[in-house]
Amino acid sequence: MSRTDDDIIVCRCEDVTLGEIRRAISEGATTMDEIRRITRAGMGPCQGRTCRQLIASELARKTGKPVAEVMPSTIRPPMKPVAMGSLAKIGEEDEE
């Protein structure tokens, strides 16, 4: 059994492989946000802390863009997954 580079897991949270990242880029993705939306890489529990730089490097390599210009995906609150129940409670208590 031989593993190829394309089988390497890049985003451990969402099980996204290097092959999937490369495919997204070859199909025209040019930003981290686009890759995130297409593959879900960086949308799991760690929110991209592990894979962000790996994807940025791959994107820089494939597009010829300097890594300094590969901006991370938009970072929005909440910055980690939060249970819907906790969010729902905010509203409840505010009404009391």
Binding site: D5, G64, R76, P77, P78, K80, S86
Partner: protein
């Protein structure tokens, strides 16, 4: 939802955040210290080795003991409220920090914010990197030094910076075999004193080598390493198969700056500082007024400088709240600046200093641009809604193609990371 009102919020209770809290609290600032961990001290709690330090500042003291002492000071300080096991979720324009505590979501409303969130470990791409048994060096230290658990029987260490060398030595002390330390760069990244220690114990340190793959059915059963050519490509035929059950990655750290991106602070990519960092001035204030930074999030260094920078951030926050007299301020500011200068006087700090100089030049150009567009308030970063992060490059990017070009090859990226780790581990200060 509970709302806590405070004068200063600090995120991260590692060396930088704690020292910021103690400094601010000493001027009477009501401070809330938030940390996701249960214990205070950040990475210090797993650092069982002695620090090099500068002058008599913590030199020769074990990190874990520094953490203990700092934690006691925090807990005994009536101006500091500790929110542990609490994570920051977002920071809003009105000064609200949304946090998740074990009891649910709370709001902390503060006048000033210090972000001291530290760094995360870099990961490497190779087949088998998702197998159980592949660890970051931080995780190995936590397992061994905090929980007393051996990560395995035989380890391949990737990276010969001070972290890789020190963790290798700690593994040997715990009775674990270290099969080899591989380093993509042509030279060992960390201090000779650390390298000699593990070499004397029979561990080969192989420069210009990297991991080709890890293999195993349910977990790591072995790893293949190979030599790299001048272009960072593996040389076929140089493969060596090592029987190991742990692959430990010690290839460097990168700032954990999500909150700063989110709240709209200007960021820039500065390889010398470990990646994207916030632009900040001598007082540690970012381009978001009232938001300060300290420690690894502002650029990867080590604990001694993080503590001094933390004090500087705490002092500046206290000063901006009107709690420090002019006389005290200039005395303390000079004292801390002198300490930082001393800590960064060694040859290992040249890279950090050049990174800080680059960052300051970018800050200057951002400030000049802001002054020009002052007539149009809509352009001011401070008016940016918090949920619309300013994901724009600082102006430098175009004029500063710099190291970016060295990324076309897989090995080059690895080497950059390992090189980073080399000169600025979290362990030691060149003095």
């Amino acid at each position: 939802m509970a709302v806590r009102t405070t004068e200063l919020v600090i995120i991260g209770a590692g060396p930088a955040g704690i020292c910021a809290a103690l400094e601010a609290a000493s001027h009477g600032v009501k401070t809330t210290l938030v940390d996701r961990g249960e214990e205070l001290g950040g990475q210090l709690i797993k650092q069982t080795h002695k620090f090099f330090g500068w002058h008599k500042k913590s030199a020769g003291t074990r990190g874990v003991l520094i953490a203990k002492k700092l934690a006691e000071e925090v807990l005994n300080n009536e101006n500091i409220t500790l929110l542990n096991s609490t994570e920051a979720l977002g920071y809003y324009d009105d000064g609200t920090l949304l946090v998740e505590t074990p009891r649910g979501i709370d709001r902390v409303l503060g006048d000033r914010l210090i972000v001291a969130t530290g760094a995360s470990e870099r990961m490497l791409l190779f087949p088998g990197n998702d197998l159980p048994g592949v660890y970051g060096a931080g995780a190995v230290q936590t397992l061994m030094n905090v929980h007393g658990v051996r990560p395995g029987d035989s380890v391949l260490m990737i990276g010969s910076g001070n972290i890789g060398l020190i963790v290798s030595y700690q593994l040997l002390q715990a009775g674990v075999r270290v099969a080899a330390v591989v380093e993509a760069m042509p030279t060992i990244g960390g201090y000779a004193v650390h390298a000699s220690k593990i070499r004397r114990l029979g561990v080969p340190i192989m420069t210009r080598h990297t991991i080709k793959e890890a293999y195993g059915k349910e977990q790591v059963e072995g790893a293949v390493i190979w030599e790299l050519d001048e272009n960072w490509n593996g040389i076929p035929g140089t493969e060596k198969d090592l029987e190991v059950d742990v692959v430990c990655l010690a290839i460097g750290l990168t700032p954990l700056a999500e909150l700063l991106w989110q709240c709209g602070a200007e960021m820039a990519y500065i390889p010398e500082l470990g990646g994207f960092v916030p632009l900040y001035d001598e007082t540690m204030e970012t381009t978001r007024k009232g938001v300060f930074v300290a420690g690894d999030v502002a650029g990867i260094e080590e604990a001694s400088t993080a503590m001094a920078a933390g004090r500087m951030a705490g002092l500046s926050a206290a000063r901006s709240l009107g709690k420090v007299s002019d006389l005290d301020y200039s005395r303390l500011r000079n004292e801390i600046a002198g300490e930082l200068e001393g800590l960064r006087s060694g040859p290992a700090s040249a890279k950090i200093l050049s990174g800080i100089a680059k960052m300051r030049a970018m800050l200057q150009s951002v400030k000049e641009a802001a002054a020009v567009s002052e007539a149009e308030p809509a352009n001011q970063p401070a008016n940016q809604p918090a949920d619309q992060p300013a994901n724009r490059p600082a102006k430098q990017a175009a004029s500063e193609p710099a190291e970016a070009g060295d990324l076309p090859k897989a090995g080059a990226r690895d080497s950059e990371a390992q090189g980073n780790n080399g000169s600025k581990s979290e362990e030691a200060v060149g003095a």
